[in-house]
Every structure is written in structure tokens, then in C-alpha cells.
């Protein structure tokens, strides 16, 4: 929902409750991203590391890695999307319940990376859906997804 400042001023004059609820929902949503993981080899390992003791994604409350797409909020694409995998990813994305977001993690997901010229790899996750946050790196450090998710948090709070 796009409520810009101008609208918010009008709403604030007439019906302040609407804006507060929006804020409450965005507060809840932005603090409880449950990731649905997708990946191939190296970035997912870093993602697992981010759930482990030294990095601990649980501090932000994002540690609930769901296996079922219906219950997840953020699709973390951590690997190249191959042409064969494309229908599966699209299906999983369609299965997720709104509100949902996509985070492209690692250079293969951002742009296709070294495989960008290959016949079987899509040049980036944004060829099939709108990506909210790009996290470049090859592979990314375990802290980088934290930064990406915190950026996403800022974005969701402003929604």
C-alpha cells in the first residue's frame, strides 16, 4: 500500500487509526522475516553459518527457516537460477503468502555471476520476479545477509 506523506497528513487529520495500524503491521512484519531458502553450494553454506552460534540470525528473530513455502515471508535466492529450476522457483514464489519479499544473495543470484553467459543460467533473479534487496558477494560473508535483511527491514517499515 502506497501511503505517501501527503496522504498521511490528510489521514492524520481525519482518521489516525489507519496509519497506526499500518505502522503496527509493518513493525511486526519487518521484525519477523521467516526465510525460505533456495541455493546451490557456497552461499547456502554461508547462510547456514549465519544461523550458527558466532553470527546467530536468531538475534533479529529471523531464524525460523521454513521448509514449506506457505509459511515463509522472504525468499532468499542464494544461488544461480538455472533454466530447469526456473519453473520450480516460480511455483514456490507463487505459493508464498502475501506479504512476501525476495532477497538475492550472492553474485549468481544478483546477476548470474560467472555463469551469466551460459545457455542454462538466468542472468539474475530479477528476470523472474522483483527483487527487493541485492546482496553482492561471492560468497557473501555470513554477516552480509544480516545487513541485507536489515535493509529490507528499513524498506518494509517505510511501506
Amino acid at each position: 500500500m502506497a501511503v505517501n506523506n501527503h496522504d498521511e497528513e490528510i489521514l492524520a487529520k481525519n482518521n489516525i487509526i489507519v496509519t497506526t495500524f499500518e505502522k503496527l503491521w509493518n513493525w511486526g512484519r519487518s521484525r519477523s522475516f521467516w526465510p525460505l531458502s533456495y541455493g546451490c553450494n557456497c552461499c547456502p553454506i554461508e547462510m547456514m553459518a549465519s544461523g550458527a552460534a558466532r553470527f546467530d540470525i536468531a538475534r533479529y528473530g529471523y531464524e525460523v527457516f521454513r521448509a514449506a513455502s506457505r509459511q515463509a515471508d522472504v525468499l532468499v535466492v542464494a544461488g544461480p537460477i538455472t533454466a530447469k529450476m526456473k519453473p520450480a522457483v516460480e511455483r514456490v514464489w507463487a505459493q508464498m503468502a502475501e506479504p512476501k519479499w525476495v532477497v538475492a544473495m550472492g553474485n549468481c543470484a544478483v546477476s548470474g555471476g560467472p555463469f551469466v553467459d551460459g545457455y542454462s543460467v538466468l542472468p539474475g533473479a530479477d528476470t523472474i520476479f522483483h527483487v527487493d534487496v541485492y546482496i553482492p558477494g561471492c560468497p557473501v560473508r555470513p554477516e552480509a545477509p544480516f545487513q541485507g535483511l536489515l535493509e529490507l527491514k528499513k524498506k518494509v517499515e517505510k511501506q
Binding site: D56, A58, R59, A68, Q71, A97, E98
Partner: protein
Amino acid sequence: MEHFFVNTAHALVAWLTGLGLAPGWADLILLVVQWIAVIIIVILNITVLIWLERKVSGFIQQRLGPNRLGPFGMFQTIADAIKLLTKEDIVPSQTDRMIFKTAPMVFIIISVMLYVVIPMGDGMEIVDLNVGLFYFISIGSLSTIALLMAGWGSNNKWSLLGGMRSVAQMISYEIPLAFSLLGVVMITGSLRMSDIVAAQSNIWFVVLQPIAFITYFISATAELNRGPFDMPEAEQELTSGAYTEYTGMRWALFFLAEYTNLVAVSALMATVFFGGWQGPWLPSWLWIIIKTYLILNVFFLIKWTFPRIRMDHLMSFSWKFLIPVSLANILLTGAGIEVLMRMGW
């Protein structure tokens, strides 16, 4: 403090009868109030409990767990609840809609019904049934139907497999569960919860019935579908088992019901094996809360320590080990009671 809740209930009934209501109706209203209180307690308690499990699992792995929202991250569950409430509610098109939609409600209703007989303090049962323990077991056995409904209604292979697994597991483990409690019943000579608590004023049944306690603990873990017996949910092979197709609040209801069951079983364990609300100095309702939470922590520790065990091992463990052991325990208890009675106890 000891009789605070009991006195409040008496005052409410007295006030209602003072208004000119028949005693039967006053009792009914009290019952409704107690139900609402139980539901509120269940929901609040689960908010704390999920936070606690995340925190405990963190500490076990030398992590910190949620710590950003509120003191020690206590508002994390609230954020999750808000998110789940505002998630889109998907009912897939090929499902059996009636069954799909009613399954979570059936599950949560059955779980809340378990609280009717648990003595939450001195004289604080909602209903002190003369078959209280049996009520707990038989109502608990109904939750298999909710899982079957969820598994069937989703029209999804994983859901169906998960539902069938959970039913096979729950039916097998119900037998040792009931048999292990029989030893306690034989010593007490009553199925009434208050009698069982009163019989433990000198010595806890965990000392008299260690085998029964262990079999009960294992089969209760399996009955709750908790790790290491969480085969029905097995994320690696069945995505989420029977809950695969559920989104947002419907899924949250299942989750809520599972934790409700967990608390109910822990409270029953505290009542049957650890002296219930009895304890020195503190008020009785505080004692049962303390005991329940200690047992819950043991459940958490077990879940986050052991890997999931295989389905066939799970079944054969129940049929070939737990059932014979719990039967032998009954025999042993009977013989012991007979011998002690002959000796003139």
C-alpha cells in the same frame, strides 16, 4: 495469596446468585469465565513459551537467541503473532475445503479441553472429575483426528504422509502412555486428580514409579510430535508434514495447539509424578507453574539435543520395548502392593 483465585470464583458465584440467578446458571457462567481465563492463560503462556524455547535453544548452542525486541527479546513472539495475523490466508483450490478449514479449530479446541481436569492449585480444577486422568488420556487421543483431517484435507502428498505418520505414531504411543499411568492409579486407587495429588503428600510418585515415569516421558514426547520423535513434521523429507499447505493464522493455530498440548502434558506430569501443587512456602498455583516450567525445559533440552529417529525404529521401539516394559511395570506394581498389604501397610 494461597486462595486468591478460589476466593475470586466463590465471590463471583455469590454475586451472581445475589443478583437472583439460579445456582445452576451461576455455575454455568463461572464455567464460561473459567474457560475464557484458560484460553487467555494459554495464549499468554505460549507467547512466553515460544520465546523461552528460542532462547533456550540459543543457549544450548551457545548463541544468544532473540535479543533485539524488548527486554531480552521478549517481544519477538508478539512481532511474529502480528505478522502471522496479517498474512494472506490461502486455501488451495483443490483441497477438501470443509475439512481443511475445520482441522486447526478441532485441534486447538481439543488441546484447550485438556486443561479442564488439571489441578492448577489447591482446589483449582475447573471440574474435579472422578475419572480425571482417564479424561485426559481419552481427550488427548482425539487430536489424531485433527491431524488426519489436516493431512487429508490439504490434498497434498506430503500432508497426507505426515498425517498418516503422526496417526500411526500417536496410536502406537497412546498404549504405553496409558499403561504407564496405570501404575500410579493402582497405588492411588483413584482416577481423580485431587486424590492423586493428595496421595503424594509424603512421597512423589516419581520415586515410587521410576519406570512408569520414564515410559510416560518418552511416549508423551512422541504423542506431542516433538523432537526427537517429530517424524510427522520432518522438514527434510515432508516439508512440514500435515501443516504444509497452511498459511498465516491457520498454521499458527496448529502451532498454538501443539504448544498447548505440550504445556498440558507437562502440567499433568507435574501433577502425577511430581506432587502437583504441593510444596512448601509458596502458594500452590505458583508451585505447579514452577514444576511445569522445569519439565518444559527438559522437553526443550531433549528436542535440541537428539537427532530425529527413523520411522520404523520409532514404531518398533514402541511395540517391542515400551509396551512390554510398561506392562511389566503394572505387574511389578501389583505384586508390590500385594506384598506390602500382606505385610500390613
